[in-house]
Assembly symmetry: C2
Homo-oligomer: 342 residues x 2
């Protein structure tokens, strides 16, 4: 079992109020690079910096790392357009950081990245793959991509109050600036990514198509961003079996109808509740309060833990251990103030 993490960036994350994947917008650029290091090494190695939301909710990389320590799995990071250097080893798929989704072209190299990721996915020797993502601002590009494909699916948020009005305005602008009406790019997934997507979507869609075509069982490990990736696979006319594994936090989000999405894109759905309500630890309590919800393959990792011999209580203990090792209070305490979510 291997978790492949597509770690990338989009300038869309720089829009005020759009993402909670970092204490500040400046720090957010480092989040995917450091998420990869946390899952790979157990802690950040290029900077003394732990990605936390403005309210102190730690990155879901902590959960995924905890599951890796508890049950063990292979882990491979793809550079899906990182904007900051990472000390984690990465596979190259010709991806560069995404532009602002409101630019006329958001992902100039979408086609090259899809092709390179498809080739890599087809070459991996594994019987089973989990595919996760880390890209701040990614739910907005996911929503824009779904709209371009003509798919009416809501998206989740890393913020407790989803800034849906803001996202809708940004997506409306993105489609207008790219000259795309909703549904215009149905059946043309590469062009949808190129105009209004992000390099993570290019990477995951390509990877899933390539891996599934070679007989690998592919589980998209994440929330609505991975639903958008699934939509892209289906709009490519690819009928392979696909699973989606996500957390109960995404499933409980009223903005999201996972069952409808699963039906629409023929996804085998697994939802895992890690029982964080039984813990007062900050690494878990903020999730119960509706923050973060998903990311860095968490839903897939938790599903793996659920079918392993490890108890969810042991996973929660391990989450505390990973978090405590990070010394979050010493080195990256929140910059103060609650998130306003918009």
């Amino acid at each position: 079992m291997r978790l492949v993490l597509a770690a990338g960036s989009t300038r869309t994350a720089g829009i005020e109020g759009i993402s909670a994947a970092g204490a500040t917008r400046e720090l957010m650029a480092h989040t995917p690079a450091i998420d990869a290091e946390i899952v790979e090494y157990g802690r950040p190695i290029t900077a003394d910096l732990v990605p936390v939301s403005p309210t102190g909710c730690p990155t879901p990389a902590v959960i995924t790392r905890a599951v890796r320590e508890a049950v063990g799995f292979e882990f491979t990071v793809i550079d899906a357009g990182l904007a900051a250097e990472t000390g984690a080893p990465t596979v190259d798929v010709d991806a560069r950081p995404g532009r602002d989704v409101r630019d006329p072209v958001a992902v100039p190299d979408a086609g090259e990245t899809v092709d390179a990721a498809r080739e890599f996915g087809g070459a991996l020797p594994d019987d089973e793959l989990l595919v996760g993502e880390t890209i701040p601002g990614g739910t907005t590009t996911a929503l824009a991509t779904l709209r371009a494909l003509g798919e009416d699916v809501g998206v989740s948020s890393s913020l407790p109050e989803n800034p849906t009005d803001l996202k809708r305005r940004v997506v409306d602008d993105a489609l207008a600036e790219s000259g795309v009406e909703p549904g215009d790019l149905a059946g043309d997934p590469v062009e949808a990514i190129r105009r209004v997507g992000d390099p993570m979507l290019a990477t995951v869609a390509g990877l899933a198509i390539g891996a599934a075509a070679s007989g690998t069982a592919v589980t998209l490990a994440g929330g609505t961003q991975l639903v958008a990736a699934a939509a892209l696979v289906r709009h490519a006319g690819v009928e392979v079996p696909l699973s989606l594994a996500t957390t109960s936090f995404v499933a409980d989000d009223p903005n999201v109808d996972l069952d409808a999405a699963a039906r629409e894109f023929d996804l085998d759905l697994t939802i895992t509740d890690p029982g964080f309500d039984r813990s007062d630890h900050v690494a878990m309590a903020r999730y119960v309060a509706g923050e973060a919800k998903e990311g860095v393959g968490t839903g897939g990792a938790l599903a793996l833990a659920d079918r392993s011999d490890a108890s969810m209580a042991a996973v929660r203990d391990r989450i505390e251990a990973v978090y405590d090792r990070l010394d979050v209070d010493d080195i990256s305490s929140p910059t103060g103030g609650a998130s306003d979510g918009a």
Copy 2:
């Protein structure tokens, strides 16, 4: 426990008769990229190509992968100047392929690579590191570097008959073209690498210095190329404890006095005999005949196996299993003819 593999290239490998790390000189450019894939995934993924010597001796990556499957360890590849694309995830240390050692400057970026590798080594969270290499032609650049430092240490070869006369001529030319007399660069390891070394040496020397300085126990996993890396560390004035773990094939090489090297550079020496003489399998028999001897961290991996619960017989069985999975006969049978070694 983590094995870090510095995978790089030098145009020195293109000199006729200098290396057996590939069936032909053209294929040799791919050897380090594919070695990394074999240890990472269990088989090549970017090309149906298994590095074998001209006589069919498979790459030592097969042994290292077998030990990884038998006893388990973390594995991280550093791009130490790869000339071909690899599907293995890599860490970036600003290394580029090395030039021909006979060029006036062999490694223009030696200083930058040493610095980046030192920083990476210092940041790794592990208590213990094994550091291995894969770079065809590397024993010649190692010999040139040792000569520039004024160290009188012989080097081994991947060929059964070490082409020592050829190497000596190439090294003489290399020093002359770089304007270096033997011993001129004692105490100036970065300059020695820049003039007559290779990017693997820059990477491993920097990594070892950075890791050891941060309290990590460092074992150089390999033969005389790793002895050259140790010499570079000592010529940087760094007194940290260092171990060298290599195979009995290197220890048995009459061109090499490992005990003298260990004394000279204050290395704690471990030699492991994997008992290949008890097997007729091609993946082991060619080693008994004196080919390959080392590489891709094999000596360190075997030392790890030796101190684990796994028996060496189980490791040998696993080597057969890894080799058989590669379908060497189907996809990369030797191009015919025995190696002439010079």
